[in-house]
Amino acid sequence: MSQSATLVKTMRCNLMITNKARKGIQEWSTDEHAFFNIQNSFEVYIEKRPVNNHGNTSLSIYFDNVTNVKLAEKVDSRVVVMECILQKDGLLATGLHVRGPKVPVRTNRRLAVDLDFVTTRNNGAGMPLVLHTKIQDLPVAEERSEYVKKRISSWEGYLKIQERNADIADIASPYSKLAFNADFSRMTLHGCTMNANEWKNLRGLSVTLKGFQNDVGDILKADRAKQTIEVEIKPKFRELARKNQWNPKSKEVVFSNFASLSQIRRLRKGFEDLQNGLAANPNLEKILFEDRPTIRVNAKRRELEFHNQLNEFQQEAVVGAMSAEDLYVIQGPPGTGKTTVISEICQQNAKAGLRTLVASQSNLAVDNALSRLLSNKEIRILRFGRTESIEEEGKRFIEENVGLYWKEQTLISLKKELDEHSLREGQLLEQIAGCECRIEELSKEQILIKKAIEQKAEAKVEHEVRLEEIKQLKKQIVLLKKDREELEISLYDVRVKSEALAHELETMDRFIQTNPTREELNSEIDQFMVKIKDIQNYILYKETIDSLQQTEINVETYREKYQEVLVKLNHLEMLKSDIDSIRKVDQLKSKMNEYEIECSSQLQFQMTELDELIGKILAFTDWQELNSRLFAAIDYVEKLLQKYKFPFENVKNNMGRSGILFDSEYTVKEIHQFMNRMKHIMTADDELTTEKLAILLEGLYVREKFVIKQKSTVQMAKNSSITKFQSIKSQVLSDTNREMMSLQHLKTELANKAINEKNQLDFLQKTVKQLEIEIDTTKLLSTSAELKDKKLEMESSIVALKKTEETVTSYMEQLEMKKRDLQKVTKELEEKEAVLQDNELKTKQVNADGLEQERILKALDEILLQNPEQALENTVEAIKGTKGEMVKLQLEKDHLPITQAVQNEWYLLLKEANDHDLDEIRKLYVRHANVIGTTCVASARKEFMENYPVFDVVIIDEVSKATPPELLLPMLKGKKIILVGDHHQLPPLVGEDTLDETLQAILEESDNLEEKDELKKLLKESLFERLFKNLPKTSKTMLAIQYRMHESIMETITPFYEEENYRLQCGLADSDTARDHLLESRYVKRKDHLLWLDMPSEKPYFEERMKDGKSRFNQAELDAIRDVLIDLNDATANAKKEGRMDPDERKSIGVISFYGEQVKRIDRLIGQQANLSHLTFRTGTVDKFQGMEMDVILLSMVRNNQEKSGDIGFANDYRRLNVALSRARELLILVGSSHMFTKRAKQRTSREMYERLLQIVKGNNGLINFQKDGNK
């Protein structure tokens, strides 16, 4: 279907074959070599498939079943498909099969190439790089289709709406009676019986009666209560009815939805075609689904010659549409000449040899557009569609009539030509003369041009020179600039240096100024020196005195120590002499104490031992006593035992063996206690036995033994204490001797030291005396530390002074030198500044020179830009052309007699031609038809698809009135698409309601959330609006000059277009003259063009609602309308009488309303109740009136109530109001309650909208308060 892909020139490609593929081939040929040799090359379409499991790129290659003639013959025009894998060295065929002849071959997803498959081995053909790249770039067809499928599914909702009632089976019903209406356009079937569900689904179905082949019409209304069905009859059957030939065999009727189902089928097919890449424009899917559609924009705008008179906006639209590549969108508010633009585009296309499809949602719009096309030999219009639904204007373009149409057109132009025959010769002569003149002029021009060429050559030379000069100058400037920059840098350096010097000088000067002279400084230093010396003496004096005192103390100390030593020696001597006489240790101790002799540690130890021994000896007295008590006790017990004959000797002998453990150590106290206890036992115990006594005796023995042992120990201690004492005494003696010796030493030492100190003392005393002579000791108030500080201070002052003195000296020396330096630097500075200034001057000069040169160059450029060569060529060409024309004219002149004879004959022959004679012409016409008109849905009819698969340009009119699925059908066929519409007018209609209202109704009914969402999305999206808003400026335009309405009528709709780039303008030069309605009456004055007949918002002016539906009517408005119509009729009669109007003329009046029921009642009013012979009418709902225009429009607004909700229903939609207001050319009369619409309406936006309208009406002085008597 699509021919978008341009074929690449034939390429050789290596083809390898798998066995499986070979099998496939062998069904048609002996082997692959034979198969691929039946044609030199094949036109194929390569589809890229998803990458296979092995990561290879797999391809399906479709062989065109039309262009590959020989192959097609072989496979009965079926489609050969070869599965391949893309390899580096060629294609590997993995399968080949033959599919049905209708399988699409050319799609937007496939690459069209002409391939020469090379199947011989080692052929070296390989895989052409170009092909490989192109295949790589190819999208994977399935993925792309999936994408489109996903996006287009958002449109499913539209189909769902249509399908709502479509999927029902045929319904059959008997009927009892059948009655026609007044003009046989409708019939009513009575006595129908069906079930409740069937009654519900009837609306819109087509009706077939038993006995008739085709359906006779469509159901308008079904009334279950009355068992009646109203049917709109098709024209063909109306005739039958009139002839009383309506004789059905049996009274049975079948209702079916065949028509709507087939329509939905077509719409679905549209979806699929887009999915499968079958759109004529491969870019279509992007245009439709991308937020910012990428549109190929042709940078070059066409220069066009227009056939129609077009305003600037219309010209813009035509030029834009002609220059566009993919899509162009035109917004056409009411009366802005959309049809003229469409007509012009068709003509331009025809001239360019392009075929155009003009499609629209309604037949009316298609016919309207076609009828306005200029009759022109280049344009061959064909209207496609069901004859009965085509309007009168379109009928002459249907296939069976185009022969006749062509005949008429040709006859007209022939007649014109024949009429001019007599003049023709004169004209030709004149034209020949004209040509001669022109040639002469051109020759003159040629000379001038030649001169210009010479000038240009000179200019060229000069141009070069100037360029070179400019180059030099530029170089100079650069050099100068460089110099200047360097200068500036060094200047800066020098300046810094000079400033530094000056500063230094100043510092020095100031220093010298502020400080004393060198001499002063020196004397000051000397003074300080003297002072320091004094201080030093003081310090020395102080120190000496201190040492003197110290030495005196020392002498005293040594003397005391010497005395002590002498005493000690004395004591020792005494101890030595006493010691022999000392017998007791205590005596020794006290002697030592007396003489203050310390014991040595050894001596101390021995003394302690001795003390212990003495202690032991002393303790023995107790033991003595104890021993005697023990003896007594033992004796007593032995005796006692003897008394009782107890062998106590055994006890003594067995002591220690009896097993009784005795303590080996006892204290005195213990033994006493033991004996006390024994005593107690013997006296108190009555049961005293000998055994017990024995034991006691044993105790006594043990203890006695212990006491005896103690006695010997004491004896030993006595002996050792004597020895000990002796050794102590000798120890003391030796210690004393040793001590005496060391004291003797110390004595001598101290004596020496004392002598030394004495000498020192003498020396110091001498020094002090000397110093006291030298200095004034009375002044000595400060301490020596203070003196030292003072001295330090003075010393640092001296250092500072010395430094100052040095600095001053050096500054004095430097000062002159620096001054000389500064002078030098200053001079340098001046020199450099001078050089810089010079440089600047030079630069300025060079710049000025450059500018001058540039100016000259520009002048030369202008000369060079002129293209006298081209002009010369043009003139040469023109001369040649004119000469050719002259020859032609001459020839024509010569041929004139024959031409005229032939044309005469042709005229007569054609005039007499009948249908048979024209048959061939009709066929030619249809074959070469270049403007084809049809409705959107009809453009998808099978026969149409077959005859016209693709159009160069598809123009869709009234786009906003079609749903996207409807629009898609014609869009699929266009290489270029031009959309014309107005989103400020009403959206698509579904039956009586707009799409929005239907959707709203479905939304209210539906419980399915998902479905609701989907539908809500549809409500939001208007394809046209989205495209118009999102497209780049180059791809759209708005027609902003309207020619239909009187200016003041137009004013009412301008607010709806405020957001657009251009304000709606009135193209009528003088509205009052051009749109003069010529009427003068009770209601209407000549100057009135916009009136509002204001109904009171009170009973009995209120609306009424139909019992069985939502539609409403308003009787008071009907009455008012009748009044107005009668008034207008009279006024028209009057206008005729007064000669303003032709006697046969009728004023065209449209009476419209927001409500269908009101329209029905208006119809009856006009048809039945009033004789309005001077008027001609068209009535309808506002929705149905879109696209129409009338001289006068009456709008019955109907809504008028006192309900709280203040609902104004259909009248809320600004688009509906826009349509309603923009139908009238000369006079618009609104009939309704302004209070209701501007004050009581529920929605604020609605109130504002109507308030604005009311203000405009008032501004035109057009508000009339309706009263029954109808006075203004």
Binding site: A182, T188, E905, L910, L924
Partner: protein, 252 residues
Amino acid sequence: MIDLEKRLKKELQQNVQAKIVSSTAWTIPLHTIEVEYKPVKRIKMDVLMKMMLITCQKAELTSGKQISELLLVEQLFMEDLINIMKRTRLIEIKNQILTLTEKGCNQLEEGIFEEELDARSQNLLYSPSHCSFLQGEIKPALDGEETLNLYRYTSEEKVRLKWEDAVLIDALQTKGMETVDGDLQTVVSEIVSSSELYVDDVPCFEFILHNKSEDLLYARVWNTFLDQWDETLENELNERERVVWREKYLKE
């Protein structure tokens, strides 16, 4: 006549909503015009191809474009036809000039050939009330037809009894006076004369109906000549009298 009226009434009363408020009958005049014309018999040949053959014979032409300019016919058509004619060897190009072959010449001669037949005459029926020729048969008079008055708006019509030839040829064609017989066709080539013979009066039955449910008044007129409800007459009556009917029939 009464039977017919009854039948019609009965038929109208099928519609329960519609009430016949008035019924009358009257006649309209039907003028019988005798037309004398000359038919010719000629071969069926495409007029454009014929003209091209003639043109090629008469003028020296080299291209479709030239013929196109001469005949004021689309060049595309010319190219197509030239190709067909070349293929069927009716023309050939000799010294760059399109020239008829012998076959072409023969064909053209045949095409031009017209056998003039003897003049014939036909009666056409013209109704001033319809301003057109009607096709149909005058039927035998109905009983009581003579009592009927003339249609009340007849006198206002100015009976035109002069017609352009084209109108008469049209009427003759509609009446089927041109026939096709294989490759040959007989066509009316010329009107020799036309004259009025006589006037018949055709009875018509007029019913005024009122549709109660919709409050509509309308006329039904049965034309006995056409044997159908006559839309033209109904429309005329509706337009002229509807308002009066409302006064007359519904105010009671």
